[in-house]
Every structure is written in C-alpha cells, then in structure tokens.
C-alpha cells in the first residue's frame, strides 16, 4: 500500500485562514495522507486541530499523530515564529523520537 505525503509551503499555509488550514490538514489526514507544513501551526491552532479531530473520531478514524518543532521567539521576544509541523493518521504514523530540533517517525501501511 502506498502512502501519500503532502509537503505544504509556508506561503500556501499563510494564504489560508486558521479554519481553512485545519480543515485542509484534517481532510488530508483522514484520507490517509501525511501532511507536512513548512511553516507549521501555532500552538493555538494545534489545540483547535485536536478539538476538531475529536469531533470526527469514530470506529475507523482513531485520530491523528502530530509532531512539530516548538515555536521560536521572534522580534523582541513577543511574536513567536512557528516551525515545521507534521501530521498523519494515528494508525499510520508513529513518532519514535523527538526533541526541539529533531523528529523521527515511522510511517507504516495498515
């Protein structure tokens, strides 16, 4: 079985509203895709993604696996800069190791 990966540029992500981003990510993941966002999601967006995911969990879709580098402090330590986030179906993706600059994950077909 093949697994598709969608690598999304920061420009594309920035052109979407938060709601569009979350819908885009979750639709992709529910289709079985691995979604990699170059610019990442903010922690608020990630929390909203968990909330949205929980409304759609059922017998066939158990949720998501999400990993990302933590945000970096930006200008004057006020605005935070988000970094890469990778999201996949919980049944397919499993994060094995993670620190602030490194993510290792296993992607396996069901």
């Amino acid at each position: 079985m093949e697994i598709k990966m969608n690598l999304i540029s920061e420009d594309k992500i920035n052109s979407m509203t938060s709601t569009e981003k979350l819908r885009f990510v979750l639709d992709g993941v529910k289709s079985g895709d691995i979604v990699v966002l170059e610019g990442g999601l903010t922690s608020e967006e990630q929390m909203k993604l968990i909330e949205l995911t929980m409304t759609e969990v059922d017998d066939d879709f158990s949720g998501i696996e999400m990993s990302g580098y933590p945000s970096k402090k930006g200008f004057l330590n006020i605005r935070k800069k988000t970094r890469l986030t990778v999201i996949g179906p919980a049944k397919t993706m499993h994060t094995t190791k993670k620190d602030k600059d490194f993510i290792s994950a296993i992607i396996s077909a069901i």
């Binding site: 929980m54 969990v57 945000s71």
Partner: protein
Amino acid sequence: MKSKRRWKSILTRLRRALSFRKGTAKIGIYGPPNAGKTTLTNRIIHTFVDENEDVGIATEVPHETRRAVRREGVTIDLKAKSLEDPNPDLNSESKEKPKRGKAKLKLDVVDTPGLATKIDFHEFLAYGLEEDEAKKRAKEATEGVIEAIKWLDDIDGIVLLMDSTEDPYTQTNIIIIGNMEARGIPIIIAANKVDLVDATPQRIANAFPQHSVIPISALKGENMLDLYEEMARRFR
C-alpha cells in the same frame, strides 16, 4: 487580524492580572491520560477539605475521567495544616526554603480529562472491556478532551501533570504549554510518580527549563508541600 489577536491576548492577560487576587482562583489539573490528575485532585481534597471525599476514581484504564469536575471552595492553608512527607529528602533544596508551610491559597480545583490526539477503542479492549463498552468509553473520551480544551478559557492557572517515567517531550505537552504561554496563564509542571524506580523527573526539568518543575508522588504524598507552596506563590 494578527494584531487584533495580539491586543486581545494582552487585554486578557491584564484582565487576569487584575482579577486574580480578588477571590478564588480556578486551577485546572491538566495532562495526558494516566498522568495522575485525579489522584492529585483527590489528594488536595483529602488534605484540605475532607479525607473521605473523592472527585473521581483513579484507575489504570486510560480516560477514566471523561468529564471535567470542578470542586469549589478549597483552601490550601499550610499554616493550619502540617503535612507529613514520606520522602522528605526528595528535593534537597526544599530544606533551605525559609517560608515553608506558610502559604495560603483559595481555589476551585478542576480535574480535567486527559488530553490526547488519538483515542482508539481497541486500546480499551486490552483492559477487559467489552467492545460496546469500549466504543462508548472512546466516544465519551473524545467529548472529554473537547471539554478539557474548552475549560482553558475559564482557567486562571494550571498544574500540568507529567508522568516521570515517560518521555515528557510529547506534542500534547508542548501544545498545552504553548497555549498557556500565549494566553499568559501561569503554569506549574508537576513531575508525578517519583515513587516509581524508573522515574526521572530531571528529564522533565531539562525538557522545559523555562518552567517550575516540582517532583511529586500524588499517590504517596511525596513532596506535596513544595507543590502547594509553588501553587500559592504562582496562583495567588
């Protein structure tokens, strides 16, 4: 749009700062499933309210707590209550603290369901649940996660509980901390289960050096005084 959000965040922080000292703080006990949230909440209630009162049942089955439970009117008064620590040498620094046992804090404590990005009913089958029961629990657990997230809008501070025997650098922990920082809500990390032989609370302190990390055992009551002191200091 981003500027509007930033102003809203600043106003929220100001509102919290002005209202925080007026009365009772609503403190959420957050963390992943099986971190010991209900055990900690029960210990707080047993110590300062009624030793026979439980806010919930703590078991080894994940997502035992599937509804947030708020216990109002708890007063942590360390002048009035002396605590026995079964392991007083756990935190050697605590011996040097001059204000030990003097803190007082009025709070409503909110025991929340465990936060997770996935809930698979098959996991519950391993604990002996029937399939129908497992599916029902999974459904309730998803609602519990949503409820825990919604409670963040009404919380004045959180104790984020982590299991000292597990890798703390999970996305869920990072998301909770990121959200609290963005909202300007004070946060204490409690490194729980230090009574277990493979506990490494220092790993949690290393992962989140910007936050207070208090090693505790909610089950055995180890180092609780330090946690209460820190709660009074941060949440008052």
